[in-house]
């Protein structure tokens, strides 16, 4: 599942692997899982053939906490200097 930012005209993050239950690529009737954005547009809900669903984040601002949780640690000052550079002052990337 790939999302696109139509305003910026670019892909919105890497492609997602979604579970769609009994997926048969050759099934002609309803070959796709059901898709819908949530009301605030921050999530894309993917509902598989077996009724299971998966929420894909579509709003980077809302996805930042999840990304930080996934990283499980903070960016150290040394890593900031190495990758960001000395031009910008260190700031807490993933505050605990």
């Amino acid at each position: 599942m790939t999302l696109f930012d139509t305003v910026a005209g670019r892909r919105l993050g890497a492609a997602w692997t979604v579970t769609t239950g009994t997926f048969d690529p050759y099934a002609m009737d309803d070959p796709m899982p059901a898709l819908a954005f949530t009301a605030d547009g921050s999530l894309l809900r993917v509902i598989g053939h077996d009724g299971t669903f998966q929420d894909l984040p579509a709003d980077p601002a809302r996805a930042v906490p999840a990304a930080c949780e996934r990283a499980g640690r903070r960016l150290t000052q040394e890593e900031w200097r190495e990758h960001v550079g000395a031009d910008l002052d260190y700031q807490e990337v993933c505050p605990a």
């Binding site: 999302l3 930012d5 910026a8 670019r10 892909r11 919105l12 993050g13 890497a14 492609a15 997602w16 692997t17 894909l56 984040p57 579509a58 980077p60 601002a61 996805a63 930042v64 999840a66 990304a67 930080c68 996934r70 990283a71 499980g72 640690r73 903070r74 960016l75 890593e79 900031w80 990758h83 960001v84 550079g85 031009d87 910008l88 700031q91 990337v93 993933c94």
Partner: protein, 385 residues
């Protein structure tokens, strides 16, 4: 004070009657007392007012004489309140001034006028300067505000460029260091909310790899993950090392497996390590580092000392299957005895039903599905799709 006296005083000061003319003409100190004598009874105010006039006159005379005596210096002239009072007094008085006094008053008036002109000039200059400096200040402020704006714009652009570079770096690192890639993506998004940074944040969530562990022995071909996924076993060059995947630290190591390259698998118990090379296979205990058993996994002995393609335990751990090219062999792991699926030719894997006369390599791309046998295997425990 009676009403007659009041009338008299008003007459004296406001009416140019003969008496007053007489007083003006006879500008003498004794004239005042003489007036009232001629005019009749002496009114009190009249005498006082004229005494004041005479006092003024005396002061003026002294000042004028001092001025004349000292070389008519401008600093001796009258000024301010004294000048104003003198001018008021000379305009209204009936006393006549002498030449020196008149010149003194005149010089004072012109001096004062010049001074106030100068003062006006100075004030005007100060006002002009003030306006000029205010204008300059406003211009400078506008200039600095504009340059502040330019500076902000530049800083903004720099931040955006940094964010784009970080997002690019994050995407490049994603395959080898997902944690760092995630952190850099978030850092980029925190620095500037450019689309690339947002995309990097979402990419790190879409990625299935949580972290990457690089075994420090890249030459080892015998690698196997424990069934719980927490331990990586790396075997080769006579040594087996087990690493904790989460921390990357070695947890166990032992030697004695031989120098030749092996193919490895860890059993569901997390302890049994199967190593295969050539046509032989061995079982080792990871915990103790002892050899549990060994033997041939193919009936025929092979001169080929290379390692087989794959080796797998059954989910229950009771069986092991080894595959190499088109040959395969089974191993009853508990009994340490070899077993084999239905023999087709010389141990070739029954892959589909090749058409008669079809070349053998047709089978090499077939997928293998393997079923846990419910009973000790005889022929036919293995099925091809």
């Amino acid at each position: 004070m009676n009403s007659q006296a009041r009338r008299c005083s008003s007459v004296i000061y406001n009416e140019p009657d003969p008496l007053i003319r007489h007083l003006r003409n006879h500008d003498r100190r004794h004239a005042a007392p003489r007036g009232p004598v001629e005019a009749g009874p002496l009114p009190h105010e009249w005498g006082t007012g004229d005494r004041d006039a005479l006092g003024h006159r005396r002061e003026l005379g002294e000042a004028a004489r001092r001025w004349a005596r000292n070389g008519r210096r401008p600093e001796d002239l009258l000024r301010g309140t004294a000048l104003r009072q003198t001018l008021e007094w000379t305009a209204s008085t009936h006393l006549t001034l002498n030449t020196t006094e008149r010149e003194f008053v005149e010089a004072s008036r012109t001096g004062s006028a010049r001074q106030s002109r100068r003062r006006r000039l100075v004030t005007t200059s100060v006002v002009v300067l003030l306006i000029a400096s205010l204008t300059a200040g406003v211009l400078a402020w506008q200039q600095s505000a504009r340059s502040d704006e330019t500076g902000r714009h530049l800083a903004d652009e720099r931040a955006k460029a940094t964010a784009r570079r970080l997002a690019l770096q994050a995407d490049a690192l994603r395959g080898t260091d997902p944690v760092m890639a995630t952190l850099l993506g978030v850092a980029a998004y925190r620095i500037a909310r450019v689309p690339e940074a947002g995309s990097a944040v979402l990419s790190s969530l879409a990625q299935q790899e949580r972290s990457v562990f690089m075994a420090p022995t890249p030459a080892n071909e015998g690698r196997a993950l424990s069934p719980d996924g927490r331990t990586l076993v790396s075997a080769g060059a006579d040594r087996v090392t087990a690493y904790d995947v989460a921390t990357g630290r070695p947890v166990r190591t032992f030697t004695g497996i031989g120098e030749a390259p092996v193919t490895a698998a860890v059993g569901p118990d997390g302890d049994t390590l199967a190593l295969a090379r050539g046509s032989r296979m061995e079982l080792w205990s990871l915990r103790t580092g002892k050899r549990l058993g060994g033997g041939k996994w193919l009936p025929e002995s092979s001169s080929d000392d290379g390692r087989p393609e794959s080796i797998e335990f059954s989910p229950g751990g009771g069986y092991i299957v080894v595959r190499d090219n088109m040959r395969s062999g089974g191993w009853r792991s508990r009994r340490r005895a070899r077993w084999a699926p239905r023999r087709t030719g010389a141990g070739r894997w029954p892959c589909g039903t090749p058409a008669p006369g079809a070349p053998r390599d047709r089978c090499s791309g077939c997928r293998v599905t393997w079923w846990e046998p419910g009973s000790p295997p005889t022929g036919g425990s293995w099925r091809s799709p």
